[in-house]
Symmetry: C2
Subunit: 359 residues, 2 copies
């Protein structure tokens, strides 16, 4: 399947979930008005909507309809959004999808309203905390309302329970580990730890998307049908590989295509398999230099370029590319038993895309 077909399909999926988001019954439930705007802020920005896509494609691949999966697809996007809003506060990030993060957006607004700098910062943080909380609840509500679309009650109960146990606990643990690892010396981290963190931060939500779509399509929960679990594993692995490719593009990506500086991962000292692998192969003098430069916001352009060279030279990038490819190859095996269909093709195209993409 052409990649352009895949993206056209994603756009169609995006339209379906957008229509859900803007239903009057949801819009009017968020009060006061200022907070409602914040709830819709990220959702109104351009995004690829991979997660709703995986829900729709997984549902279709087992014979389900898009109509049945509509609210679950909207739910996973809203769920993803609350984690972004809270993570952006945690990471002190100021941009998201090309615009200010929620806490930054409302800090700027408060400055316009005449708040003192400290008060404006607090207000931005407060709006962002409450916005994420509202979205978290909204995600559960959307999933629950799948019952109205004819999804069997046991399937919905299983999904809500999974969302609020394995998914949230996994995702929050991943975010916490990410914060903790950033403060740990490179020498004290193992590749397994980094991969587990990536799986928790990205993989478990994709696994949830696969399980949601497949169990809605089949009318059976993951415990009842092995195919649901297989599609879940497929999506989990592709999600993890997506993140590895992200790390690669963070070193050798094209700034123009990515629309962001590619040095930030080095400046922030991000702990990736690229860094770990190259570090283990470097000489002790080079290791010393890497420790000094990685995570040093005042590193010179020259030093950044030198680290970049070392990461490539010592096969950090190449190694991670192989890792991502082997993960995707295993993932693809999981869904081989599926009958041929447009939706299976879409899942396979996504799997190929996650490791071949250049932005």
């Amino acid at each position: 399947m052409e990649r352009s077909v895949f993206f056209d399909e994603l756009k169609r999926c995006s339209q379906i979930v957008n229509d859900v988001f803007y239903q009057e019954k949801y819009r009017e439930s968020f009060k006061p008005e200022q907070l409602r705007d914040a709830v819709y802020s990220y959702l109104s920005r351009p995004a690829k909507r991979f997660r709703p896509g995986v829900v729709f494609f997984s549902c279709g691949a087992v014979g389900g309809t898009e109509e049945q999966a509509r609210l679950a697809a909207a739910s996973v996007e809203v769920y993803h959004t609350w984690t972004l809003v809270h993570d952006d506060i945690i990471d002190n990030d100021s941009k998201r999808r090309g615009f200010p993060t929620i806490h930054e957006e409302y800090r700027l607004k408060a400055m316009d309203w005449g708040y003192q700098p400290n008060e404006a910062k607090d207000l931005g943080r407060n709006v962002a905390i409450l916005t994420g909380d509202l979205q978290h609840a909204w995600a559960v509500r959307l999933l629950l309302e799948s019952i109205e679309l004819g999804v069997p009650v046991p399937v919905v109960l299983d999904l809500v329970g999974r969302m609020e146990n394995e998914l949230t606990n996994g995702l929050v643990a991943g975010e916490a580990l990410d914060v903790m690892y950033a403060a740990k010396p490179i020498t004290e981290l193992t590749e397994t730890e980094v991969l587990t963190m990536l799986e928790l931060k990205t993989g478990v939500l994709y696994e949830f998307c696969g399980i949601a779509g497949a169990s809605i399509g089949l009318g059976q929960s993951a415990a009842e049908n092995g195919l649901v679990r297989a599609i879940g594993r497929f999506a989990r692995q592709c999600g993890t590989a997506f993140q590895l490719q992200d790390d690669i593009l963070g070193i050798i990506g094209d700034e123009k295509l990515l629309g962001k500086a590619v040095d930030s991962d080095i400046r922030e000292g991000k702990r990736t398999t690229i860094v770990l692998h190259a570090f283990s192969n470097a000489s002790s003098k080079e290791q010393e230099f890497m420790v000094e430069t990685l995570g040093n916001p005042e590193a010179t352009e020259e030093e950044i370029q030198k680290v970049k060279q070392l990461l490539i030279e010592y096969n950090g990038v190449e190694y991670t590319r192989h890792l991502a490819e082997s993960i995707v190859n295993r993932a693809v095996e999981e869904i081989e038993p599926l009958p041929d269909s447009k939706y299976k093709e879409l899942l396979l195209t996504w799997a190929k895309y996650v490791v071949n993409r250049e932005f």
Copy 2:
């Protein structure tokens, strides 16, 4: 019923929900370990557990068993806890139940670990955001698992939907209004606005407790049984009156009994019906003085005492007392149809307590 019997029963309820909290299957789901400790921090501190109490008593009053209501009771306490954790960040509060708030607790820890002051503050905030997120999910999970105790699926679905729609949307709106009103001039606020805010911040969660207990006890949802709705209204009104009594104690309470300074409401410029009522009766010169002093952290002890006198003299306290009593009287009428029982007595004793309590 003696008040001491009521408190003994609350202690018993507290024991039941504590046993739920510390079950291995819950404890082990929170990772990493540092975050698990944070999730249990507030739950391990002394607290009266009114909300689980209302769940148990409402369930018992319609003929249900405590065993059936066990997980729902634990759920409402965990739910309450996440809102406290996030509100404490928002309000920049440093104490909760006699100990540091989560964000303050982890800020202090980070200082001990050698973090810079700014980094320590961020870390405290980050732990608190993630802790509340985990507790939010845990509350949904506990409620859902009520199915395992034999609570009918439609009742559980109704309760989870209610928690993540009316309850969360109401509570978050209440918190947002509280923050917004604190920045508004007294003259621009109406009593209705203040009462609505109180109802959202406190009433809706108590309403949920009443509905949860009664619908579990009856095996019918609020839509199916008017008694469930009546008990919900009872609990909502008592919760709102509880908050009004809180405002009264914030002016004329005994510092020793309350274990906290009673001037803080005046210093923080809290918008209460006491302030609104007294303000409307005061002379324009006195109004001017009140506007200057309320919310002025640098007000002298003498000025605080003068405002206190005005609030009493112009019947702000008396008016609010009558308001709270009339709300509780209406509340009590709602549950008159219930047959006599220990649990009905407990609900009535709670209703009396919320307006007569001195701490």
